[in-house]
Amino acid sequence: MKRMLAFFVLVLATFSASAQPSSCTAEKSLQGRTDILHCEPWSSSTWWQASGYKDDGEKTNPSPASGPDQTSVQTNCFAGGPCLRVNCYAYNNGGCGGMLAHHWTIPGTQQEVYLRYYIRMASNWSPENYCGDPSCIPSGAIGENTTSGGKWPGLADVRTSADPSGQCGNGGAYSDGINCWSGRLRYRNCTGSGGADICTAGGGGETTRIGWYWYVPPASGANNQMFAAFDNRAWGTDMAGSGGTCASDRLNVGSTDSDSTSCGKGAAGLKNSTWYRVELRIKMNTPGVSDGIAEAWISEVSSDGLTDVSTQKYTKTNMRFREVGHDNLHVRTVWLDVHMGGEFNGPLTDSYIELARMVVATKRIGAFKASGSYVSQPFTLQVN
């Protein structure tokens, strides 16, 4: 009996110790939290094997991830620690559109997930640095297909051609609210109407706008593959519904040039050679009801990577990700996608982005802190 009890205690202790992944050790502000599902410090050269990443978003029988051949782990690049460099090789250097496309399957059937990561663009980064048309090679110039931009990591529950439903939630296979939805990030240039630079209100030097890249129902072009900017500038964003405001229609996912009526908030644009903290939130809707939530916070990080204050840059509380009768849609994967354009021939010149300190949780994650203490000693509450 004592042996059984000891075994039970050992199992319980093991479970408790594994409640937070060991990869979270460096995240001092997360210690003690029980809502942390995954930390990716990108400290191992075989990081994709250690945490069970998958090659794609297949639900039925996903294959373990093979090596991402356009990435490399960098040391001492973010807050004195590692990061993942995702190379964007030029078309004449073996480049292609997709640099990284792994998925990390989120355990459980999560209805609400937060995803945080840090991102930095190379000093020569440009959303216009690619060739979408074979005719621009080799004589093409920066500026071809400039509005298409590309994709960065987000959250999803997609299907591939290996699943019974077939491909859904990417590659032009629209979300029907039954078999898929996806919310990656999309980046694009800062060019607005008449060639105006609409990122200048951010302080100058911005090269890149970002926002959600939605595949959400209905299964039409009205609400799929659309740009939902993390800024209040209307140009290039999608307001396909009625009423003209973010709150008036679930299909209005974009901006209006006003904070009060836009889903996106504030000034546009990110600068090169600067770390930004990105935190995303998805809360699934009641099936068939537009009560889902999408939020995003962005902050510019100080040069030592240790101080920043997040700013809410997107909030929409009438999202619909799934319909009645859906195929157990939830927040199923982190889609670690880094992709230039749709499909094209490659960047014109070598460039890269870097990712650091990714965390997945069921509550607000906040900033990476390598030092400090954030939890009190235990206390007793006595209410008489």
Binding site: S273, V309, R364, G366, S373, Y374, T380, L381
Partner: protein, 86 residues
């Protein structure tokens, strides 16, 4: 928010927190009543940090991110107050 690339922190970098909340071993009050938990956090700033309780609150006790409120008598032990830098 304005920024720069010369290594200096922009003016909006106002948050710096390195010490854990200091909470008494026992928090006592009478129901119906409440306790402001922000008093236990150095330089508390609602726009740059959020507070949460680690542990299970008893029935009738709620925490709204700043204040513990109770509608009736209750006891709980092993609770912790956590700061999340936003």
């Amino acid at each position: 928010m304005s920024g720069n690339n010369n290594g200096d922190a922009p003016s909006c970098y106002i948050y710096k927190h390195t010490s854990a909340p200091i909470v008494p071993q026992t928090i006592t009050f009478t129901a119906p009543g409440s306790r402001d938990m922000t008093q236990y956090v150095e330089n508390y700033n609602a726009s740059t940090m959020s507070l949460s309780i680690i542990g299970t609150l008893p029935g009738g006790v709620t925490f709204d991110g700043e204040t513990l409120s109770a509608s009736g008598a209750a006891t709980a032990s092993g609770l912790k107050l956590q700061v999340t830098p936003l």
